[in-house]
C-alpha cells in the first residue's frame, strides 16, 4: 500500500530506504507512472494517523480510537499545509509526474519525522503518568534539541526530492525547498501557536 519497490530492491518500504539514499530512491520511484485520488491522499492520511496515534499515546498511555481520531483531526493542518506548500512549488515550473505522485513521493520523505515520533512514543511507553505529565526539564531539552538533526535530515531528503522528481534548473531545488518550508512551517506555526505568540510579537514592536 505505502511502498514502492523495484523488483530487485530489498523488502523495505520507501520510507526506510529514503532515509539513507534519497537520490536513488526518488530517481527510481519517479520513473513509475500513476496517480489518482488514493495516491494523493494515502501518505498524508498516514501522517495524520501517526499524529493521532502519538497524541493518543501521549495523552493516555494507550491507543484508543477516540483519541487517535481526535488527535488526527487536531493535527490535520500539518499534512494540509504541507500539501498546499508543495502544490505552490509544483506549479512554479515544469513537471514530469502527476501531482498525486509528487505528493506521495514527497510525503515518503517525512520518514525522519516518523522515526522521531516512534522514538517519542516509545519513551512514553516507559513513563508513568506523572513522568509524562511533568517530564524533567533536561528531557524536554533533549527532545527539543533532537528535532534539529531531524529537521536537517528531512531537509536533506527533500532537497533530493526537488532535484530528482521535479525537473528544474540546477539552482532551483534549494529555492524550492526554502519556499516549501517557508509556506508550510509559517502556516503551521501561525495556526498552532498564533494566539500564544501574538502578545510577544506585539510587545517586541513597542
Amino acid at each position: 500500500m505505502l511502498t514502492d519497490l523495484s523488483p530487485d530492491g530489498p523488502q523495505l518500504s520507501a520510507e526506510v530506504r529514503v532515509l539513507h539514499s534519497p537520490a536513488a530512491v526518488f530517481r527510481e520511484l519517479s520513473q513509475k507512472r500513476g496517480g489518482g485520488a488514493w495516491m494523493l491522499v494515502r501518505r498524508p492520511l498516514l501522517l495524520a494517523f501517526m499524529l493521532g496515534w502519538l497524541v493518543s499515546l501521549q495523552a493516555s498511555g494507550r491507543l484508543s480510537a477516540r483519541l487517535i481520531a481526535d488527535g488526527a483531526l487536531s493535527f490535520a493542518f500539518v499534512p494540509v499545509f504541507e500539501m498546499a506548500a508543495l502544490a505552490a512549488v509544483y506549479r512554479l515550473g515544469p513537471r514530469r509526474i502527476s501531482f498525486a505522485r509528487a505528493v506521495d513521493l514527497f510525503f515518503s520523505g517525512n520518514a525522519p519525522w516518523l522515526l522521531w515520533m516512534i522514538a517519542f512514543a516509545t519513551l512514553r511507553c516507559l513513563q508513568t503518568p506523572r513522568q509524562a505529565t511533568a517530564p524533567p526539564v533536561f528531557l524536554l531539552w533533549i527532545l527539543e534539541l533532537s528535532l534539529v538533526p531531524i529537521a536537517v535530515w528531512s531537509a536533506w531528503i527533500d532537497l533530493h526530492f526537488f532535484r530528482e522528481v521535479l525537473p528544474r534548473p540546477a539552482a532551483r531545488p534549494r529555492r524550492d525547498l526554502i519556499l516549501q518550508r517557508a509556506i508550510a512551517w509559517t502556516c503551521s506555526i501561525g495556526y498552532f501557536f498564533g494566539y500564544a505568540i501574538w502578545p510577544y510579537v506585539v510587545s517586541s514592536g513597542t
Partner: protein
C-alpha cells in the same frame, strides 16, 4: 500485502482494540463531605483550536469525563471561542460542566492569568489588576497561572484582586523548587488554592486538580437551599472559589486550602484517592502501547511481498 506486514497491521489493530476497551470513564460517584458537594475541577486546559493543545474542545470534554473530572475550564490563549464550543458540546452530551475561559498571556510576558467563567475575551494589553477587574465585571474568577518567579506583573494591586492561585501545577514535579515557589506566591495574599494540569495533550488531564466545595451545609434537608448540594453548575463552582472553599493536594500529598475543609477532607479520606493513579495501567494498556508501537513501526518499515522471479 506481504504476510509479515499483514501480521503487523493485525498487531496494530489489536493494540487499538485493547486501548479502546481500556478507555472507560473513571467512576465519578458524588462526594459529599461536611454537607458540601465536592467537585473535581481542572481550571486550566488547552484545546487544539488555536491554543497549542492536542485535543479538540469536544475531545477535552470526553477526556475530562475519562479522568473523573466534574468540571473543566477550557482556557484558550487570549481567546474564548474554544471554551464556548466545549461548553456547547458538553451540554449536548451531558458531560462535565465546562467553564469557558481564557489564559491571558500578557504582552512583555509579565503575567499569565486564568479567567474562568467569562463570555468575551479579556485584553492582554493591560495590567494584571485591570485584567482581573475586567474578568470580575464579566462574572468570572481570576487565577494566577503557574506564578513562578519572574511573574512580575503580579503587583500588590493584582494580588488584592486575585481569586485564586495555582498551588499545584505539573512543573512542581519537574522542578525541585517548584512547590516552594508556588507556596511563596500564594502566601502574598489570601487566595483560593488551585490545582490545574495546564493540559496541552501530553500527560494526564486533571493530574493536578482542585476539589471545590459547593453548596450550603447549613441548609436543612427538604428546604429549597438543600438542593444546592446537587448544584454542579458553573455558578456554584465560581461562587465556591470566590469563597476560597477549595482543597488541593500537591507534591508529596501536601494539602492546601481552607484549613477547616482540609481537616474535613483528611478525616474523610476519599479525596486523596480520587486523584489519577500514577500506575502505568493494566495489561490492556500495556498491550495497547507496546503493540501499537511495534505494529505501526513494523508496518511502515516493511515493504510488500517481492515479486517472484519470472512471476
Amino acid at each position: 500485502m506481504s504476510s509479515p506486514r499483514l501480521a503487523l497491521f493485525a498487531v496494530l489493530m489489536l493494540a487499538i482494540t485493547a486501548g479502546t476497551l481500556a478507555d472507560r470513564p473513571r467512576p465519578r460517584p458524588p462526594i459529599v463531605i461536611g454537607g458540601y458537594r465536592v467537585l473535581a475541577v481542572d481550571f486550566h486546559t488547552h484545546s487544539s483550536m488555536w491554543s497549542d493543545g492536542a485535543l479538540t474542545p469536544w475531545g477535552l470534554v470526553l477526556e475530562a469525563e475519562r479522568q473523573g473530572l466534574d468540571a473543566i475550564a477550557i482556557t484558550g490563549h487570549n481567546q474564548v471561542r474554544d471554551g464556548r464550543m466545549g461548553r456547547w458540546f458538553s451540554r449536548l452530551v451531558g458531560g462535565p460542566t465546562v467553564l469557558p475561559g481564557e489564559e491571558i498571556l500578557s504582552d512583555k510576558n509579565a503575567y499569565h492569568l486564568i479567567a474562568a467563567g467569562i463570555h468575551r475575551m479579556v485584553s492582554f494589553q493591560q495590567s494584571a489588576a485591570r485584567a482581573i477587574d475586567d474578568i470580575h465585571r464579566q462574572g468570572g474568577i481570576a487565577i494566577a497561572a503557574h506564578p513562578f518567579p519572574g511573574s512580575a506583573g503580579y503587583d500588590q494591586a493584582a494580588m488584592q484582586r486575585l481569586d485564586g492561585a495555582e498551588i499545584c501545577h505539573p512543573m512542581i514535579y519537574a522542578v525541585e523548587s517548584g512547590q516552594r515557589d508556588l507556596e511563596r506566591f500564594a502566601a502574598r495574599a489570601p487566595v483560593a488554592a488551585i490545582g490545574s494540569s495546564d493540559f496541552h495533550g501530553i500527560g494526564t488531564m486533571g493530574f493536578c486538580r482542585t476539589h471545590v466545595f459547593v453548596g450550603d451545609p447549613s441548609a436543612s434537608s427538604g428546604s429549597p437551599r438543600a438542593s444546592l448540594i446537587d448544584d454542579t453548575s458553573a455558578q456554584a463552582i465560581l461562587d465556591a472559589v470566590r469563597a476560597h472553599r477549595t482543597v488541593v493536594y500537591g507534591r508529596d500529598g501536601q494539602a492546601y486550602g481552607d484549613p477547616a475543609l482540609v481537616r474535613l477532607a483528611d478525616d474523610d479520606g476519599r479525596l486523596r484517592v480520587a486523584a489519577p493513579s500514577n500506575s502505568r495501567g493494566g495489561w490492556l494498556d500495556w498491550l495497547s502501547r507496546i503493540g501499537g508501537v511495534l505494529g505501526l513501526a513494523g508496518a511502515i518499515a516493511l515493504g510488500p511481498r517481492r515479486p517472484r522471479p519470472g512471476g
